[in-house]
C-alpha cells in the first residue's frame, strides 16, 4: 500500500524588500486610499443598500411573512382545515373553526393566529394547504416590534397583506 502524498502549492518565498513589508504596507495604503477616494467621488461604487428605503429584490421562492388569500368577495379563502397547523413543526398556528355565514363555504376560521416569534419560516404550512389559502410570498421579513403580542399575527393582519 502506498501512502498518497498530495503536493500543495506553497506561497512563493518573499523577496528581501517584500519581507521588510515597508513598501508593501505603503502599497496597501495606496489600495485603501484608492477605494476611499473613488467612493467619495463616485458614490455608485458603494455596495450598501439603503435598507428601509431601498429593498433588495427577493428571489421568487423566498419565504417571507405569511398572508392569507381572499375569495372574490373578500372572505378568507381558508376553510380552517387545520392542515397547516398540523404540518407546522413549530406548532405556531392556532385555528378556531366556525360555521361560515356563507352556506356554500360551510367552514371558515374564526380565529387564525400565527405566532411569528415561533415560526421558523419553513413553508410547511404553505405546502400543506389544500386551498392555496396561505402564502409566504409577501417578499418580506417579519418586521420587528416592541411587544410579543404584536408579533402574533391575527387573521385580520394576515388578510391585509
Amino acid at each position: 500500500m502506498t501512502i498518497g502524498v498530495i503536493k500543495v502549492a506553497r506561497p512563493r518565498e518573499m523577496s528581501f524588500p517584500e519581507s521588510l513589508y515597508l513598501l508593501e504596507i505603503v502599497k496597501g495604503l495606496g489600495v485603501t486610499m484608492g477605494h476611499l477616494l473613488s467612493n467619495i467621488v463616485r458614490q455608485e461604487g458603494i455596495k450598501t443598500i439603503e435598507y428601509p428605503e431601498v429593498r433588495r429584490p427577493m428571489p421568487p421562492r423566498f419565504r417571507g411573512k405569511h398572508r392569507l388569500m381572499k375569495r372574490e368577495n373578500g372572505a378568507p379563502r381558508c376553510v380552517a382545515c387545520y392542515c397547516c397547523s398540523t404540518a407546522c413543526p413549530a406548532k405556531c398556528i392556532t385555528i378556531v373553526a366556525g360555521e361560515s355565514p356563507d352556506p356554500a363555504v360551510e367552514k371558515y376560521p374564526v380565529r387564525f393566529d400565527i405566532d411569528m416569534l415561533r415560526c421558523v419560516f419553513c413553508g410547511m404550512c404553505v405546502e400543506a394547504c389544500p386551498c392555496d389559502a396561505i402564502r409566504m410570498d409577501t417578499g418580506w421579513f417579519t418586521p420587528p416590534d416592541d411587544t410579543r403580542e404584536k408579533l402574533i399575527f391575527t387573521i385580520d393582519t394576515l388578510l391585509e397583506k
Binding site: A97, E106, P130
Partner: protein
Amino acid sequence: MPTLTLNGMTVDVPPGTSILDAAKQVGVEIPHYCYHPKLSVAGNCRMCLVEIEKFPKLQTACSTVVNDGMVVRTDTEKVRKAVTGVLELMLIHHPIDCPICDQAGECGLQDYYMKFGLHKSRYALEDKVHKKKVQDIGGQVVLDAERCILCSRCVRFLAEVTGTRELDFFNRGDHSEISIFPGKPLDNNYTGNLADICPVGALTSKDFRFRCRVWLLKAFDSICTGCSKGCNVDAHFKGDILYRLKPRWNDAVNQAWMCDFGRLTYKEMNEARLLTPFVREEGARKVAAWGSLLPDVAFRLKATADKSGADRVAVIASPQSSNEELYLLRRLATELLGTKNLAFTHRVAGDGFADDFLIQADKNPNSRGAQLLGIPDGAVFDALVSKISAGGIDALLVFGNVLGALSEEETAALLANVPFVAQVGTNEGPVSKAATAVLPSASVAERGGTFTSHVGRVQRFRFGFPARGKAKNPVEILVSLGNRLGAGWSFAGEASVFRALAESEAPFAGMSYDSIGMLGQEIKT
C-alpha cells in the same frame, strides 16, 4: 369446521362465517364499506370483492359464506383492479370536501384511496352531480348527501336497531341519494350512532361539527356516566378538553352503540368545573389551600362528632362516585366518624326516561355499587333529609354536585339548617352554591376507578389526563381526610383501594383490575 385457504394461509372457521370475517381472523384486511358486524349484510358497496377458485367472477367477501376447502385470494391483480375500479366509481361524484369534512382523518374513502386508489380523476369537475349539502335531519347528525357512498348502513341501523326507519334512498342512478321523508326528521335516542357507522362524512355529528380535527385527538377507555347501563365509551380529548364520546364495543353491554344523552355527558367535564378549593365566609367565597382546608374539614367533622355526638354528623354519598370512593367513604363514615347517618339517592331531577334497549331510568352510573357496598338509598335518605331540615345535623359531608332531585332553592334551604357543610364535587351546582367548604374533585376523565352497572357488571374507567385546576382525585381526598381522622390508611391510588375492597366486600370477592379488564366482570349474586 370448514377450512379456508386465504392467500396461501389456512384457517378453520365455524360454519356460516363470511370470508370477510375469516380473513380478519388471519389478519388480512378486506376493504369494505357496507358491511358492519352489528348489522345485516347488504353486499351493495362491492368493495370487498375477492377471487375464489372455481368461481368465474369475483365475489363479495362480506356476503359469501366459507365452504370447506375454499381457496380465496385477495392479493391478485384482478382483485386490485376491481377494488380500484369500485373506489373510482364511488369517487366520481364525491365532492372531496376533506378540508371542511369532519370525517377527514377517520374516513373510509381517504383510507382506501391511499391504499387502493391513488388514481387521477378521470371525471371533469363540472360534470359532477351535486346534491344537497348540510342538511339538518334532526337528532345529533348533519347530512351531506353529496358525500354519501350509498352503503345503506344508516338505513339498516334505523331499520334493525332502532326500528324507526327515518332514512331511505331516493331517486336513481347518479342521482340516488339518502334522505329523510319530507317533514319527518330523525326521531330516536340513538341518532349519534349514525355518524359513527357512516364510513364517510355524509353523516357527521352536529355537536362535534368543526370543533376539532380527529387526528389531533387522543383517546382513553371510559364508561358513560349518563345512566346505570354503563355503556363502554372511548373518550376523545385534546389537552385537558374532552371533545366527544364514542361507543366502545362491548357485546355484553352496549354492543357498538350508545344513546344521544350519554354522548353529551362529556360536556359536564369541560364546563362549570370546580377548580379551586374554597370556603364560604359570610356568604362570600374565599379561595382556600388544600393544605389547610383538608385538616380543617377533618377537624370540624371530628370535633362535632366528639362534642355533640356522632349522631349529629352525617355523610351523603353520591351514585356518581366510583366503587373505590364509596368504599372509603363508607369506612370513613361508619368506622372513623362512627355515624349511622350515611345515605345516597339515585334520584335526579327530570323524568327518568328509560327504554328497553340501552337507556336506564336510573341516571347514575353507580347506584348499584353504592347499594352493594352497604350504603342505603330511598327511605333512609329521605329520613336523613328530614333530620337535616329539623336541625338535627351539625356537620355534613356531601359527595356530588346535587342532592338527588332537589332544586337549587330546596338544596339551599335544606343545607341552611347545617352549620358546616363540606362538599366534594366536580361541578358548580346547587350543593357548591350552599356548602361551607368545597373540595374540588377530579372528573371521570381525570381519575380512574370502577362503576357497577345496573346488572351488577363492574367496569373500569381509566385516567385520561391530569385533573384541571387544583382539583384532586377523590380517593386522595378521602384517604387524607381519613388519615386525619385517625384511619392510618396507606392506600395509594384506586388500584390499592380496590384490592382492599375486593378482600372485604363479598359481592366483589375475587375481583381485580386484571380480571375486570377492558370489558368488565359481573358480580357474583
